[in-house]
């Protein structure tokens, strides 16, 4: 399977994508960031590492993930053909495991024994706890106190896997604060510890390294679509929070000029309402958590809290490569409201028998818009980045299925 990837011409040695990206981090972490950069460059070129990772992706994760023709859902996308890349069928239930296995192997190569991670909904935390259990690494996961309450089941999963979950009780007590705490831990424990960042954000080399580790999604999907349809898709759709699943599937298609790339951000109550997590659509360029990118910020540069029904997209910034793809016009980003995402969620459950993650439902809602635009002749590849088991409570409350009167208020 193809885990190799071309380095795009727009990435420079300092990790800049045009005016985005780079390394806005304390000097104390520069040595560790250099160490990770060097270790990753070596690992990428090392056939032994690639073989070890490929074996895990095949025999542990279950790759390649299938491509499903969503023939019934197609009717709700103006008749366009919809092909689902089934990252939801990976071990631990989402694309997150691709990155985690790679970085966990890298941690061992660097001779480190302890891994820290941040998590919002818990998917990255669970994936990290899983890889650490497999590879015998100590694992500490930082999670906003709010999120530990909303995602108690995932906290239990991480505990079962042997990880320590530390609730973060400062700031807005959500994902961004968990990232802040992880950076504070890392600077104090950098000799023993690798920070296993879960998305394509943060200081160089994280955005490109995490992209490289998710490149397999797009590489597989490109071959699968060609084999299935005899042609490239007309459009690729993915949800974008930090943007790791989206960059993973986009990266393989960036050189294919005929393929339109669409990223769907969390529109929450609507971008106009101010209650959303759409950093590109509704934010502005700034520096946040180690990188220059689009950020939700006020006129003084203070971070504005994000909002989304989907905890995994509830982040006030986006990976710098997406910022670059947006600014260059190679990819198009727009916002999907909670309501539209939940309608697409409902439709996929009912028409295909697949309960998607609410994150991925944003991409499904986007596919409906693309279908309306491109018409029934079009083929749309959708990254179904995760499964919805974790979202059953949220969805049941949203649709009023819980027997109480919380419906639509979730």
């Amino acid at each position: 399977m193809n885990t190799r990837h071309p380095v795009p011409g727009y990435l420079d040695e300092g990790g800049h994508y045009g005016r985005f990206g780079g390394r806005f981090s304390p000097e104390a972490l520069v040595a560790a960031l250099d160490e990770v950069t060097e270790a990753w460059d070596k690992a990428k070129a090392d056939p032994d590492f690639q073989a070890e990772l490929s074996a895990l992706l095949a025999d542990y994760t279950g790759r390649p993930s299938p491509l499903t023709d969503a023939k019934n859902f197609s009717a709700h996308c103006s008749g366009a053909r919809v092909l689902l890349k089934r990252e939801d069928l990976n071990h631990t239930g989402s694309h997150k495991i691709n990155n985690v296995l790679g970085q966990a192997l890298l941690t061992k190569r660097m001779g480190k024994t302890r891994v820290i991670a941040e998590t919002g909904a818990g998917q990255h935390g669970v994936a990290t706890a899983t890889a650490c259990a497999l590879l015998g690494l100590e694992c500490v996961v930082y999670m906003g106190e709010e999120d530990t309450r909303r995602q108690a089941l995932n906290v239990a999963r991480m505990n079962l896997l042997g990880a320590e979950v530390i609730p973060v009780t400062i700031g807005s007590r959500t994902l961004k604060d968990a990232v802040n705490e992880a950076f504070r831990d890392w600077v104090a424990n950098v000799d023993s510890t690798h920070y296993l960042l879960g998305t394509v954000a943060g200081p160089h080399p994280f955005p490109s390294m995490v992209r490289d580790l998710h490149y397999v999604i797009g590489a597989e999907a490109r071959e699968q679509v060609l084999e299935r349809t005899g042609a490239l898709p007309d459009a690729v759709a993915a949800c974008v929070g930090g943007g790791s699943n989206a960059i993973g599937i986009f990266a393989a298609f960036v050189p294919d000029d005929s393929v339109r790339l669409y990223g769907f951000e969390a529109g929450g109550d609507g971008v106009q309402s101010g209650r959303h997590a759409a950093s590109i659509t509704g934010g502005s360029p700034g520096v946040f958590q180690g990188t220059r990118t689009f950020v939700l910020q006020d006129e003084y540069g203070q971070t504005v809290p994000s909002h989304s029904i989907s905890a995994g997209l509830d982040y006030p910034a986006v990976g710098p490569e997406h910022a670059w793809l947006a600014e260059s016009g190679r990819a198009t980003y727009s916002a999907v409201t909670d309501a539209d995402a939940m309608e697409a969620f409902r439709l996929l459950c009912r028409t295909e028998g697949i309960i998607p993650a609410i994150e991925s439902a944003h991409a499904l809602a986007g596919a409906r818009t693309i279908g309306a635009e491109l018409g029934p002749e079009a083929t749309i590849l959708v990254n179904l980045s995760g499964r919805g088991d974790k979202d059953v409570n949220t969805a049941a409350a949203y649709f009023g299925l819980t027997g109480d009167d919380e419906g639509q208020q979730a």
Partner: protein
């Protein structure tokens, strides 16, 4: 010569390290923070770092996080920060700003440098800006005649020490340990070694090396003052305001803490 440079030179002539105190502007509110700064200077601070409170202070421990958070809740803006800088300069102390990078970029790098200089500020400390990313800031601080203070850490390679000191003006900030801000029971043994290594690359320029992180009493200040050109204290001042039942009590505690530290830096050599 900036007021920072003259304060450091003056301390050196007196055969001692300078005392540098940190306080977030607007903590606990803008007016009160000016009074706290005045108390710090009355107690013996030569230089004040006025913190620009930021929503995501990744390099700060719980005490400064809390202080900055209170300042933000009180509605502190960059204009307020500049007002505190002006008031600080009026005390006779050298006034610096310490800020995460995004608020400065949002303000406008050139505009911030110009407004800092106009407010009587001497320079800016940028803890999450490394020289490789600092081209616009280097140009703006040169144009405005401001000092620019970058950080070195125990993990910095010799090559990075050289690069960072070359980009710095006023002094270079040596982080005494690998960790976030906050008081510590003991000063890290890494501090003295880092200062020694830094002095190798500042031998020609004579750039002062000041040490911060974890210094929280007069004895520790004396210990660090034995080998550093300046001793930086932050969380200890914030903690005294947080612990005080009212501002007046807090001011007394801050003044007396500054006095203790000022005696510390004078008893070292």
């Amino acid at each position: 010569m900036t007021t920072l440079q003259s304060k450091l030179a003056q301390a050196k002539e007196q055969g001692r390290a300078a005392l540098i105190g940190y306080l977030p502007a607007g903590f606990p509110d803008v007016e009160s923070s000016i009074r706290v700064v005045q108390a710090m200077v009355e107690g013996g601070c030569d230089v004040i770092e006025v913190g620009l409170p930021y929503s995501d202070p990744t390099m700060d421990g719980p005490t400064i996080q809390k202080a900055a958070d209170m300042a933000l809740v009180a509605g502190t803006t960059p204009k307020d920060v500049l007002a505190v800088v002006r008031a600080t300069a009026e005390t006779g102390a050298a006034a610096l700003v310490m800020s995460y990078w995004n608020p400065i970029e949002r303000y406008g790098v050139d505009a911030f440098a110009a407004d800092m200089a106009a407010a009587g500020g001497a320079g800016v400390i940028t803890p999450d800006l490394i020289p490789e990313e600092a081209e616009p800031w280097i140009a703006a601080s040169d144009a405005a005649g401001l000092d620019r203070v970058f950080l070195v850490a125990p993990s910095s390679t010799d090559a990075r020490l050289a690069l960072t000191c070359q980009a710095s003006r006023g002094f270079v900030y040596a982080a005494s340990l690998m960790g976030v801000t906050g008081t510590r029971a003991e000063v890290s043994g890494m501090a003295e070694r880092l200062v020694e290594r830094t002095r190798v690359v500042t031998a020609d320029s004579g750039l002062p090396v000041c040490v911060g992180l974890g210094i929280s009493n007069g004895a520790q200040a004396a210990q660090v003052a034995a080998y550093a050109d300046g001793v930086i204290v932050g969380a200890g001042f914030c903690q005294r305001i947080l612990d005080a039942p009212d501002l007046e009590t807090g001011l007394v505690a801050v003044r007396s803490f500054a006095t203790e530290l000022a005696e510390g830096v004078r008893s070292a050599r």
